[in-house]
């Protein structure tokens, strides 16, 4: 019988594959639940996977394929901002709804495309929260800003830097490190020489882990603040143990794992031996939102779906979500978390 086809486009291979896995797990769990509950408008949902490896070229191929060959009605993804941007033009032109669960670059929704929405915050919001925290809570005077020279990380660092300036502070250092490398000792020595009293890092856990470890090893005990790119237990593994992640802070949406709606789902994931961290629940929520829009508006047209979403609020596993006219979340609920020596994180009161 006929099914509702939803594309899941993200990095399922390559260096970012870990995020692709989170995305897929979340989306898969969502359709299982929805299908069990009767599907959308009585139709079952079918997920179609498209691997873009976070490469624009592949993202274009995937987008065209999802649109023309698989004839999907909506897309969950992409993950990297650099792939979401070119691919979303294809979806937009074809009038297909696309909702990204993790592309936080402001440009994603700033281009006036009609069918593009996101489930996550924006780097500028996140950076603002980070800067406020660094200055007001930590009382830092000499802030070093680092990033990983990638769309996400650099966007974050730039936003943070910009807000730092509005707060009247100039960073003592602003530099990029290379993704995939593990040795940041030179940079750490430089941080030390610059006498920074806080370090802000825009990037992912795979670099943040070794970075913080090498900082601690070289006796740089100042706080490290980062964004949602390090929201993963892997961060602790990468840092060499809980000892090293003390005094590390990060911004993240109110932890979906803690929200009452999510409790049961999280328990189910854990039962299946999977920790639903990072973007897992985001992807789940994206599918929920898409399904809700289709169910309620009774349409599969991307523009109509987008308009419906922009006008209504959806109950998701991460709580109620609603969107503004650009497609960004109305409420950005970035809050600050702190890691402890047991390798767990908790909201900073």
């Amino acid at each position: 019988e006929e099914m509702v086809r939803i594309g899941v486009a993200g990095p399922f291979s390559g260096a970012y594959a870990a995020f692709g896995e989170q995305q897929w797990r979340g989306a898969e769990a969502a359709i299982v639940d929805i299908n069990r509950g009767g599907g959308i408008l009585g139709k079952q949902i079918l997920l179609i996977k498209g691997d873009d490896a976070c490469e624009p070229k592949q993202a274009m191929a995937v987008a065209n394929r999802l649109v023309d060959n698989d004839e999907v009605q909506a897309v969950v993804g992409h993950f990297c901002s650099s792939t979401t941007m070119p691919a979303s033009e294809v979806y937009d032109e074809a009038g297909i709804l696309v909702m990204t669960h993790g592309s936080t670059n402001p440009m994603v929704t700033e281009r006036g495309l009609k069918t593009v929405l996101r489930m996550c915050g924006r780097d500028d919001q996140q950076g603002t929260v980070g800067a406020e925290f660094v200055v007001k809570r930590l009382g830092a005077k000499r802030v070093a800003v680092l990033h990983d020279k990638d769309t996400y990380g650099q966007g974050l660092a730039d936003a943070m830097k910009a807000h730092l300036h509005t707060l009247g502070l100039t960073e003592v250092m602003y530099e990029g490190l290379t993704r995939g490398e593990k040795d940041f000792n030179a940079l750490v020595t430089k941080i030390k020489a610059a006498k920074a009293d806080a370090v802000y890092f825009g990037g992912l856990h795979s670099e943040a882990g070794p970075l913080v470890r090498q900082m601690r090893e070289q006796g740089v005990d100042v706080p490290l603040v980062s964004g949602d790119g390090i929201v993963s237990e892997e961060f602790v593994t990468a840092a060499g143990g809980g000892r090293f992640v003390k005094n590390v802070y990060m911004t993240f949406g109110a932890d979906p794992r803690k929200s009452p709606e999510g409790k049961a789902l999280v328990a189910r994931f854990r039962e299946a031996g999977y920790e639903p961290e990072g973007y897992t629940l985001y992807a789940y929520a994206v599918v929920q939102s898409i399904a809700a829009a289709m169910q309620e508006s009774g349409s599969y047209n991307g523009v109509e779906l987008a308009n419906w979403l922009k006008r209504h609020s959806v109950e998701t596993v991460m709580g109620p979500k609603s969107w503004d006219a650009k497609g960004d979340l109305k409420v950005s609920d970035y809050v600050m978390y702190q890691w402890d020596e047991n390798g767990k994180y908790a909201e900073v009161e």
Partner: protein
């Protein structure tokens, strides 16, 4: 037969034991934080499959009854060079047929496959360009992607800052890429084979890193949007964006036509097809021209070339910049077809892929390059259904193809000259 089976069984056992050692720890013991989590069944399944597979292969390859099948898969590692007169008749028919099919494609393919076809054409272009450098001149270039990037960015940046149109960008990019080739080539072309390889690799990385880091100019990792190509002021968008007129409005004056998103792809495809056809012709000619012969001679023996009065640095340089030029043109088409460029498209892997096209095609063979480019672009798309396993299978295919046909898919043809009886 019994002997064969016994032999196969012994062999399979050995391979199975090796497999157990290789797969055991890697697939049977899963890291989980700092702990470990055993999944022995996975390893055993894999080893079992390996055992069975090996057994079957050995049986098939060794049993006389199935020798026909076995022959099909036998490796060929001898050079097969055929000296054949140029311009054979059946050749021409084949060329015309291929062109006709290629012209018909946009009307047969879905937009997705059309997009793949465009990519394939771009890779043919790049393959032909690199073929000049590696196949003909014998210069191992592992950083060809640099010129590709130069081309793509000269369109993107040219449009952004200089207001270049697609058509202006092509010669601009070609020149720019060629001069990059010349500037890089001049100091490094005196180096020997593999040193050249690593320097070009380094150069490719430098270009990518600069594009990534020079944010004020290139937008860094965020990339740049590129305008869509136009044809005589006709735009291939629904509404005019660059001061032209949308094509359906222009053509609408004469005929019944609706806007279709595919038109843009058809246009790029056709333009590319023309460029590729011209290039194929050019490369075929080059091989029979003094400069092409000099390239090949240089590949064979540099010292002998010098003894014949050939300036080896200049000749190499000409190959290098000509290859770069083609790469630059490829870049413009890539940027135009994607509508967006960022440095992630110009990694080392891209260079490796283009090189694989050239080698698999059989160094120096034009038809080989075309076939290999099509295979290597269509294959990953066909494999999309295997998602997780796609790259793994692609890698396996690369190894298997190399092992099966180390000298390339096709035989190498050398031009034959008609020797008339000379009157003394």
């Amino acid at each position: 037969m019994q002997k064969v089976i016994k032999h196969a069984a012994m062999d399979a056992l050995k391979v199975g034991l090796l497999g157990l050692l290789l797969f055991g720890p890697m697939t049977g013991m899963l890291l989980d934080g700092y702990g470990i989590h055993y999944a022995p069944s996975r390893a055993f399944w894999l080893v079992g499959l390996l055992l069975l597979g090996r057994f079957m292969v050995v049986v098939v390859m060794n049993s006389p009854a199935l020798s026909g099948v076995a022959d099909l898969f036998k490796r060929k590692d001898r050079v097969e060079v055929v000296v054949s007169p140029m311009g054979q008749q059946h050749h021409k028919i084949l060329v015309v047929l291929t062109l006709m099919v290629a012209m018909a494609l946009p009307f047969l393919l879905s937009k997705y496959w059309l997009n793949v076809a465009i990519l394939a054409l771009i890779y043919i272009l790049l393959g032909l360009g690199l073929n000049i450098v590696v196949g003909l001149a014998g210069l191992l270039d592992l950083g060809f992607v640099a010129f590709y990037a130069v081309g793509a960015y000269s369109y993107a940046l040219g449009a952004e800052y200089l207001g270049l149109s697609f058509w202006q960008a092509i010669p601009f990019a070609a020149l720019l890429a060629a001069s990059f080739g010349a500037v890089l080539g001049f100091p490094v072309l005196r180096m020997h084979g593999d040193y050249l390889a690593i320097v070009t690799l380094g150069f490719g990385e430098i270009i990518r890193l600069v594009l990534n880091n020079w944010i004020s100019l290139t937008g860094g990792p965020n990339g740049l949007r590129t305008p869509l190509p136009t044809l005589f002021g006709m735009e291939f968008t629904k509404r005019a964006t660059q001061g032209g007129t949308p094509y359906h409005e222009v053509l609408g004056q004469w005929m019944e036509i609706d806007y279709s998103r595919a038109a843009r792809y058809v246009f790029i495809y056709v333009t590319l097809l023309v460029v590729v056809t011209l290039l194929v012709y050019m490369v075929q000619r080059l091989k029979r021209m003094p400069i092409g012969r000099a390239w090949e001679a240089l590949r064979e023996d540099e010292i002998a070339c010098r003894s014949l009065g050939i300036n080896h640095v200049m000749v190499k340089l000409s190959a290098f910049s000509m290859g770069a030029m083609v790469g630059g043109v490829g870049g413009v088409f890539f940027a135009a077809s994607q509508g967006f460029v960022n440095p992630a498209s110009f990694t080392f892997f891209e260079s490796a892929l283009i090189l694989a096209i050239v080698v698999l095609g059989g160094l120096g063979s034009v038809v080989g390059v075309i076939v290999a480019a099509v295979v290597l672009t269509v294959l990953p798309e066909l494999l999309r259904d295997f998602t997780e396993y796609r790259v793994l299978i692609f890698g396996c295919a690369m190894v298997v193809m190399m092992v099966w046909r180390p000298r390339g898919l096709l035989r190498i043809h050398r031009p034959e000259f008609v020797v008339e009886k000379r009157v003394p």
